[in-house]
Symmetry: C2
Subunit: 595 residues, 2 copies
């Protein structure tokens, strides 16, 4: 080793020790006749001291050191007069006897500090410098810890990690594949896996019983913020289990990660059905760090009995918006009755934004003096509004915010408003974690454009046994044995119990509009495998990049990926993708056809 | 869980317990009024028993069970009368009360037994059935264990695993890249990494100090037996270290793997220079499970003094072959003096095979009675031959085998003969492990065809500091700080200390025939990174598939990969690669151009 110690480990216990350290020059300062150099490596910073009085030549050389120079230093551990309690090495400094410049450095284009002056584009171009900054390095160390904990936890539960292939068969179903031309098989292509779904099911057919893999997946989608063309999954599958076993096993994993990485002990996770998630939060990934559940004043979807009682709250008062609405639904913003006109206008503007799309916002102030004031006072009496306030369990000081319109759209808009209010009220803090299982997803979703059913999860997802009879009568109501793990409103993972019965699988394909030939062409090798004794099985996959960013208290996954791509799928550091040579194209039997 | 226990855990301690097991029907046997079913899962086999006397109906149903049916069984753990000491569950059986067929199975196309009747092609087509067989499952469980041990060992040494990208920039140097067309950047391509070499060096520039990754790599080469287009590496890099630190760290890892996985404690690994490996074994990956070192009777490469003494052993006796040879070199096959004429002819045929290419084989028998008999008695006297025998340290009973010709070719041929003799003499057993570091590789190799130097390892490999002056005078003699780990004649890993000095790197590129522009185009982002403070660093990569097969005592890596491809890069199970649709090609701005 070129060093005796790293830059993060020397303390008062090492006083008078002769040491050799290596690292990068973080900064140099001159103070009277002294020169101080902060020497940095992955493990910390150690202060070097040079004295003009005792060794002018060496001190002079030290003053020439530029930022980010790589040096090797020999010296003696000395107690500091001005201790720094914030640093692990803050009690000591190194009185340097000699040093060597191992490598010079050009001036970095941005500061290597926790809060850098570098913009996103510049940081990505010089990612190797950005990676030197503590916050980014901490993120990647966290990622390593999470991967290690996950592997050790699952391995102890007899899961085995099996590496599945990256060069696989392209299937047109689902998102768009990245493809890889085969030189040895001209005109043919491999695909990069969107997930190892079929392979993990094959491993269950092969009797592997408990499989996991921390695995890269690829999707050639138009990138949104926080989407990467390559991303990492914790991918799992189990045999001879029920949904309950999957939920418990991966709740166990999640709890273990929170306990060991963040020191947080979690209670049993809340569960909610998809139907209730939509009804009470307008979202299939509710943020339950705060309550603020939806309250319906009217819903045409409610059962007949309650409809009667609901309708009288809103209808027949000549307020056309409510009369014609499928749903009238709101939230109670506790303690917000004194919101100003300006604040209410902001909220109205918020819900009217095109991406949210509400027509307007109705409010009811429950004034601290017990009086009620609403934006629809001209249609409803004080007694009418009083009844609303009771439905909302509102108290003096509260502010009720109401939207009305088509059910699905209104619920979604109110979800956005609820999240906005949660943020405004400081109820969505990064250091609180509220996990939630969303279960009983619908099996199908109907696509208006193509006029057909799509599998909400994927075509191998099993319907709930008790709902199977509805496949023929009202398929849209059939619930699946499918589940998502949501933390703080972010979907961390999802999975399902799979169909392992051939006839049921065939029925599914028929309902999804696949002919036998199409099903065979796309899923043939998996369906063939199922003929040789498939066990009951199911699984789950966690988005690992997102899990890391959740643990790191950030909303951007990019900060948790060593070398991410930008929103057009480019790596600007290496300037990739790039053109390839004519010879390469020829070998691959390809022609580029760009207009 | 659909079971209370698995099929490998019930013992005499569980007698009288009511249990539910799930698994596959391995076989059914009828014996008098009894029917026995072996139920199999990943964990073992448990015997089920049905009695015609006590429950004829159930017994009758059991007799209908086909091989590989998936069933769920309820019953009572009972002590066996005929115990089977070879099975963990051999003391008990399950007296079945009821069972359910979870899934039927078609008759498998080959037997699911340790020694199957399925050929390679059939096993690959139905890989999910092949994976059910114990030997294959054991291989993959071994692989999982090796990966876990590696990760935990390196993690404890403060290595962090960083996931590097799979969609990277294509570089023409080295082997052929697999490329991935970019839809969003028409006419441009990503490449799949042949190794994360540049990224791990960037991580060192970024100060990560100790990096590892168990990572998939891709090479579009014409496949030989035991080459896969995608393969897995244990990839590592360290900063502020010398070659000695790398060797010790990864010797430590290897020892730990042997200790924990195979219970074998290993002594300090032998080291040999590349020059000595060629001189004594004719190979840069000697199998040192057995000695049988080369002995030179003549070598034009030997120093002048010893040449004089060597030449008189072979030259001037009118034996043209030896007179004209650059080298006369042989091995002593202990105890083989009584090889028959036929056996000697076989060995002669062996060395004359085109892929070995020797012109012939000279032998000397040291008969048990002390007399010497050689195939060149007509040129050499008994005294001449006696001198040879002394050089070989031969004793009565030994057989000396000698080749002559051009140095390199003859050494390589003799290496093959040595390995052949090792095998014939049973000196190359699968349960002996002889690790060896081969060090001091040459920095360059000369390519006759293109008339230029190539980097023996890669262009970032550092020359030995003491050899740097020779870069200008006799570059072919410059040794590199490069090393391979060889076990039992198989290259398990290799690496080098990297150049981190800009001027030296520039000189290397010049010597390799790169213009500045070419170097910049291919390695620009790494070279730019080096300008911002690169630390001294170096690394190593282990071939993980090969490491697994070594531990599993097999020579084929395919048996240690869950879903391997065949020698034309096809996965015959999923029939991949395959054609893709016109729409897909159009989106990618590509045309297929197959004649």
């Amino acid at each position: 080793m070129l060093r005796t110690h790293n830059c993060g480990e020397l303390t008062i216990k090492n006083i008078d020790k002769e040491v050799t350290l290596c690292g990068w020059v973080q900064r140099t300062r001159e103070l009277g006749g002294m020169t101080f150099v902060d020497l940095r490596d992955r493990y910390g910073i150690t202060q070097l001291v040079f004295n003009m009085d005792t060794n002018a030549g060496l001190c002079e050389q030290a003053r020439q050191l530029g930022r980010e120079y790589v040096i090797s230093v020999k010296g003696t551990v000395t107690e500091r007069s001005n201790k720094n309690a914030k640093m692990s090495t803050g009690d000591i400094e190194i009185t340097v006897n000699s040093f060597e410049i191992l490598n010079e450095a050009k001036l970095p284009p941005f500061t290597i500090e926790d809060n850098t002056d570098g913009g996103d584009e510049l940081r990505m171009k010089y990612r190797y410098l950005d990676l030197r900054r503590n916050p980014v390095r901490n993120n990647l160390e966290l990622r390593h810890q999470l991967a290690m904990e996950t592997r050790n936890y699952l391995s102890k539960l007899k899961f085995i990690e099996v590496e599945t292939p990256y060069l696989i068969r392209s299937t047109p179903e689902g998102a768009r594949d990245f493809v890889v031309p085969s030189r040895m098989n001209p005109g043919e292509f491999y695909a990069l896996p969107q997930s190892p779904q079929q392979y993990k099911q094959l491993l269950m057919v092969a009797g592997y019983d408990r499989y996991f893999q921390i695995v890269r997946c690829f999707r050639d989608e138009d990138l949104r913020a926080d989407r990467q063309p390559e991303f990492t999954q914790i991918d799992c599958e189990m045999s001879f289990i029920t949904q309950e076993d999957i939920l418990n096993t991966f709740e166990g994993l999640t709890k273990q990660l929170f306990k060991s990485i963040k020191g947080i002990r979690m209670d049993k996770f809340t569960r909610i059905s998809y139907a209730d998630a939509m009804k009470y939060y307008g979202s299939d990934k509710p943020d339950i760090r705060f309550d603020m559940r939806f309250v319906e004043l009217k819903s045409i979807e409610a059962d007949a009995a309650s409809q009667g009682s609901l309708f009288h709250l809103t209808n027949g008062k000549d307020f056309k918006l409510f009369d014609e609405a499928e749903i009238v639904v709101g939230i109670n913003a506790k303690g917000c009755s004194e919101y100003t006109r300006k604040q209410l206008d902001e909220l109205t503007d918020f819900v009217k934004k095109p991406q949210i799309g509400a027509g307007g916002l109705i409010y009811v102030r429950y004034n601290p003096d017990g009086t009620l004031k609403s934006s629809v006072d001209k249609f409803y009496t004080a007694d009418d509004i009083k009844l609303w306030a009771e439905k909302f369990n509102a108290e003096p000081g509260d502010l009720i915010l109401i939207l009305a319109g088509k059910t699905e759209k209104t619920q979604k808009a109110l979800n956005e408003l609820r999240l906005e209010m949660g943020s405004r009220l400081g109820l969505r803090t990064n250091d609180t974690f509220a996990p939630l299982w969303v279960i009983d997803f619908p099996l199908f979703e109907w696509d208006e454009e193509t006029n057909r059913f799509y599998a909400k999860h994927h075509p191998f997802t099993s319907p709930k046994p008790e709902d199977i009879p509805m496949l023929d009568t009202n398929p849209i109501d059939v619930r699946a044995n499918a589940y998502d793990l949501v933390i703080n409103g972010v979907e961390i993972g999802g999975g399902s119990i799979r169909i392992f019965n051939k006839d049921l699988q065939k029925k599914m394909f028929t309902m999804l509009g696949f002919s036998d030939e199409e099903a065979q062409a796309q899923f043939g090798f998996l369906m063939n495998a199922f003929e040789f004794g498939a066990p009951p099985h199911g699984g789950i996959a966690f988005g690992f990049d997102r899990l890391c960013s959740m643990f790191g208290g950030s909303e951007s996954i990019k900060d948790f990926i060593a070398f991410p791509k930008n929103n057009s799928g480019r790596d600007i550091m290496s300037d990739s993708p790039s053109t390839i040579s004519k010879e390469q194209l020829k070998e691959l039997s390809l022609k580029v056809n760009v207009k």
